[in-house]
């Protein structure tokens, strides 16, 4: 039995690590889409964060500063998107794609001299006695701080969207920007802030890849993680906790696939490694196919807003 060699506690621990980068990117994009903006540049912002975070962490010797830099890097790129779509009213789909193409190119250029370097290690959070609990300790309490902060972030976004006044305004802007505008809310300001938050989250997700998960810098190292994050938002039908469940499910698939590779299953590596993408497509099909059932997508998603008065 091939699964016999896989320790479930280790598997659980690994899936939390594998899920964290896409969860970060997805929770950011969720907020962006809740405000009515479709930013397809997640892949570009992620790779930007991966690259900038890596460079800063290597040069300062501090992964912590690296993460901050990554968030700022992703945010800087997202501001470009905000400028295009909010100020200049460009097509959101095309602008998002431009962001990804530009980000992939720019990072290949910036990161060139950093290929093959090992980044400074991010310490694991010492949770003392919790880590000693049998099974659960190994599975849940042996991680770096980012894993826990990400979970906290999901909770915070959930609370923000559901209970805070600012979150209500954000949702109003996303559901019906004309009505929100008529009520006197600043549609564009809200959207720009949401886009910046999304950029920062995607940047952090990218840095998690290059500083902790892999940890190394290689050109184009996100290999579609940003697109999977976008699919995750649809999967979650724009609900934070469901995004987390989806990310962990996805992390499980990735880890299982890697474990099967290591266990020497008689399927070529190339076919095993395409499974995350195929399963993402499959999940999209299942989620989208519910006829008549609303997907809960924000009403003004991907519609440009121009105050005519």
């Amino acid at each position: 039995m091939i699964l016999g060699s896989i320790n479930p506690a280790v598997l659980m621990a690994a899936l939390m690590v594998a899920a964290t980068p896409i969860l970060l990117a997805a929770i950011g994009e969720l907020v962006v889409e809740k405000s009515g903006v479709l930013n397809l540049g997640v892949e570009g912002m992620m790779i930007m964060g991966a690259c900038v975070g890596f460079i800063i962490a290597v040069n300062t010797g501090s992964p912590f500063i690296g993460f901050i830099g990554a968030a700022l890097g992703g945010m800087a790129l997202s501001l470009l998107f905000a400028l295009l779509t909010q100020a200049l009213m460009t097509n959101q789909v095309a602008s998002g794609l431009a962001l990804t193409l530009f980000g992939l190119g720019l990072t290949a250029l910036l990161g060139q001299r950093y290929v093959g370097i090992t980044p400074p290690r991010t310490p694991k959070l010492d949770l003392g006695f919790l880590s000693d609990i049998p099974f659960l300790g190994r599975a849940l309490f042996t991680h770096d701080i980012v894993v826990y902060l990400t979970i906290a972030l999901v909770g915070a976004v959930w609370w923000f969207l559901k209970y805070s006044r600012a979150g209500m305004i954000l949702r109003a802007v996303g559901e019906n920007h004309d009505a929100a505008h008529a009520l006197g809310y600043h549609v564009k300001r809200v959207r720009v802030l949401a886009i910046m938050f999304g950029g920062a989250c995607a940047g952090l997700g990218g840095a998690y890849l290059s500083l902790i998960r892999v940890p190394q810098w290689t050109e184009g190292m996100t290999v579609g993680a940003g697109w999977i994050a976008l699919a995750l938002v649809v999967f979650a039908s724009w609900r934070p906790w469901r995004a987390m469940a989806g990310a962990y499910l996805f992390g499980g698939i990735v880890v299982l696939q890697l474990n099967l590779q290591a266990a020497g299953v008689r399927i070529p590596v190339e076919y095993l490694s395409m499974s995350p993408y195929l399963i993402t497509i499959l999940v999209l099909v299942i989620i989208s196919s519910g006829k008549g059932r609303s997907l809960n997508a924000p009403g003004s998603l991907n519609k440009p807003f121009h105050a005519s008065s």
Partner: protein, 361 residues
Amino acid sequence: MIRLEKRKEPSKFWRIANPFLAVALTMLAGGIMFAMLGKDPFVAIRLIFFDPIFSETFASYSRPQLLIKSAPLILIAVGLAIGFKANVWNIGAEGQYIIGALFGAGVALAFFPAPGWYIFPLMVLAGAFGGFLWAMIPAILKTRFNTNEILVSLLLVYVAERILAAMSLGLMRNPDIAGFPGSRDLRRYEAAHNAELFANTGIHWGVVAALIAVIFAYAMMTRHMLGFHIQLAGQAPRAARFGGVSPARLVVVCLGISGALAGLAGMFEVSGPGGQVRIEFASGYGFTAIIVAFLGRLNPFGIVLAGLLLGLTYIGGELSQMMLQLPGAAIQVFQGMLLFFLLALDFQTNYRLRLTRGASA
């Protein structure tokens, strides 16, 4: 205060002028980038945009290269533009390009080493069919299950890349050279080789196909009912539905055409300039073609010009890599910037800048 005011009608002037302005701005910003990399910006820009065509030392090599690089871009972009017009976003042309190449090469490798005039035409059909099939996945999922074609076509690119790797290492590996990944060199198999048709021009069957596609697309968009339906669906989806245009059929047609053309491009590449199925075969043409389609204003003839320009950046990029040790990624940044500037400038087509004084706004 500066405000945007919506124009009553999109400005025809800016629609045509913006691509040129975008190229100029890209050169300017690119020059600044090169200066920051410690290279002479004037030399770099000249090397990328002028020397490949005009310099005596390089032109004899790079002029034919121009058509070789531009043809796949034009072929793919023409197909994408038809879809973009109808708001059908095929972003996975890169994957369709790979599968088309695999289908075309598959036919060639199956017949090897038989001679026969029919092998190459069969490969052409197989290439187009491969791209078509790969594009049908997002099309059918969209029409049957309402999944987003952008995400599905894109995720399939990563799947296609894995299939390409698996083929290079497995089924299609050259049995005569042990240990190395990659198929037989199709350039050495006469019946399957997409050779240069006229010496030193760079014209191969892919260039011919690109020209046919351009003329065909132009005729379809301006003279045929289908073209009219596509335009209508893009500009007024509700009106189109009332007018009896089936959105599902349009999705299938648009993705099918663009997939088949991308597959063709891949097939011509693998049997000609590329030469063999190998892991590094995919070159990003499928993504660059998106820029070509926008820069060409989704117009077939505009796409020819845009394709030539972006083809030029590939050659100029290689040249500046060789002469100035400029990193290859600089060209990718260049292409990204071009799209940015174009999109940014396009606000002028639909809006007018109005200067208003302080409080009156």
